[in-house]
Symmetry: none
């Protein structure tokens, strides 16, 4: 997604080469920090944002106090985990707003957002409601809202999006779909494309003869995705 690091949206990435910032961290500490973020990403994706921090620490192979040294509370960890996603989403939003056709922009944008969420280099997707104070998640939400609202209004002016749809409709629908992403991750990581396409088709004024992308989930995959998590 976002090839270049945008400093403005990367509030915590204390890169070691910043001259005026805090002194460069120790090698092993950085390694541990990485391990923790990875473990947290996995855990958040697999078990939701409310997993046991102790378990995250164990997963990362460090003591729980080490986790707390790096991240004074759950929110700080959440923020860190999702900060790269924030970058991606802002980038995708800016790009979409620059496109002539709002419809194309919206389509591209939503695909980009969903693609950014649950990948190994992206950030995973928060399962369920998130704990208060996680400012990165809130920023993501705010940015997403800004972009979606702008594109929607523009599309309605251009006549490609049904006039009775609201930003809230789209935001709610994408949030709901987004929450299902973790369940897809291991089984069918791109399966979100089809419901998204259905949603978009339902949203436009003059549906062209669109084709649903990616193959459908199989029955077994659906079972895996929906039935009791662990």
């Amino acid at each position: 997604m976002s090839g270049t690091q945008q400093p403005a949206v990367c509030p915590r990435s204390w890169a070691a080469d910043r001259p005026g910032g805090p002194p460069p961290r120790r090698r092993d500490a950085l390694r541990n920090r990485e391990l923790l973020v990875e473990a947290a990403r996995d855990a958040f994706t697999a078990e939701g944002l409310h997993t046991s921090l102790d378990r995250i620490a164990r997963r990362a192979g460090v003591g729980s106090a080490t986790l707390y040294r790096h991240f004074p509370n759950r929110e700080a960890l959440v923020d860190e985990v999702y900060s790269s996603t924030l970058t991606d989403i802002i980038t995708a939003g800016d790009r979409a707003l620059a496109v002539q056709s709002a419809w194309t922009g919206l389509t591209n944008y939503l695909y980009a957002v969903f693609a950014a969420l649950p990948t190994e280099r992206g950030a995973g997707c928060p399962a369920g409601p998130w704990p208060g104070g996680a400012t990165t998640l809130e920023l993501i939400h705010v940015q997403h809202r800004r972009t979606v609202n702008a594109l929607l209004r523009q599309g309605q002016r251009q006549g490609t999006i049904r006039p009775d749809a609201t930003g809230e409709d789209l935001l709610f629908a994408t949030a709901v779909l987004g929450r299902a992403l973790p369940a897809l991750l291991t089984t069918a990581p791109t399966a979100w494309r089809r419901p998204l396409a259905l949603l978009l088709d339902g949203l436009r004024t003059h549906p062209a003869a669109s084709r649903l992308p990616t193959p459908s989930l199989t029955t077994d995959e659906l079972d895996k995705v929906l039935l009791p998590a662990r």
Copy 2:
């Protein structure tokens, strides 16, 4: 039309008049059982399937041990709570399959299902993945799948539903939307209608000029629904 009680789908409802079953319970025991199921329904709907069982017992005004006497584990309770919904869903499915137009049937069916979930006499909706082994929920899923698949195929034969959609598409989308119901309950209990309508519009071959039902969520409502849970 399966108006009559189907034993096969009522695995635990030890009705007092079953001849071969356990002996008829004392009046107060039955009363307690009822209270527990009610309390559990409310609690599951309000706080998700992982609420404290202690709190459910207190809500019901009985001791926690009484809860365990009636339901040996959480799953048994979950099953019982959702068993009535199962009946509703089966009924709605049978009714839908009897309709000429599969499209009309499907539409009616889905609205009926969602309407059945979060009501006081229905069952509420499980928030998030459920604990292992909850058989009633699985049965609901099986029945739902049967109905949806049948209607979908029929609609495609009748030319009203896009041919590239699969049952899995629809099942996944409705499951995902269903998981968002609890969050809507207190704020906007019918807000699911609009995303459902969008989905259906995206699903049909020749979209008539449909109108989205119910007013949209407001921005504030959306925030309440999506932002940090309490």
Copy 3:
């Protein structure tokens, strides 16, 4: 001290014989409650109001969750432990205010208060500052202040107490002395009488030829009392 139980000041003693109140507790639960209060009294007295609640539970021979069942937080426990002391102090205050000579009243009152604190049937004495929210301790403080202020003013009007002393002087001095009581408990439980007598002698207008009460601490006792606690 207060021979008869005064209901008004005994907010938590849910005696089993109250008809309209909560149902009588189970025998063993009451026993556990007693054990916990005893253990807490000892622990508070010996190690201050900030001891580990876990240790109190262990001392009482119950699981820590049992402690929390009986007392939802530290303050509730503190309140319970010191509620009987509150009764004593109020009683002593009322009695002192009824005496003609404010000087006699004050003397008797202070001796009574200190006697009520660190005894086996009294309540022990909070070592150091107490955690917020312990309303019984605050009530004790309020009552004590009321009584001391009244007696002091009266004594000054009667000419027996030096006019430049304030209620705050006396309250501060007694609080400071009170905080030393736990250290005395095991070694010389009445040793507070002599500093109290000195204080009172310093407080009166025409010091009669008073004698200090009780034998003085010995050198060894003083060491035990002052040197590193445990």
Copy 4:
């Protein structure tokens, strides 16, 4: 008059010019040591003898391991912090013993001691019991005892101090009052003078018409001093 440094009472002050001791430290090491002692003094005074050592290190701007390098355990740090106070106390004691009137000497001495405790160049005052093995505090106590005993006996011989008072009485009383100093520090740093004056008035044989020094605590100040520590 012990104006000069007395080695016997300075067990840990590894001055750089001691011949037989450890080799002279590097300049920055000495600096760090100073910083640590300062930080510890502040922290002990403000938060009691049980503050987090980590916080002391951070306050001093050094790593926690540096603290441990300089002071192998908490007690060593406590000792060092209070060693300068020890000097003050010895000095004041010697001066007092040289005065003709034991009463005057005692009075001056006690005021000097209390004045020495909570100042920036003095040492602050340990709040509550101190951790085992803090030898400087013990030395302080020994010296204090020596002085108080001598003055008391002398005063009793001179007829100015009541004959039934013992050194232990006075030592206990002053210790108890001393423990309250930290609480006074921020609110009313000289408020100890009034209870001390009361005590002394209670102690002398023919009380002259003394006046209590400093204004009394106000009600609000008393509350701040006594009520729940944050």
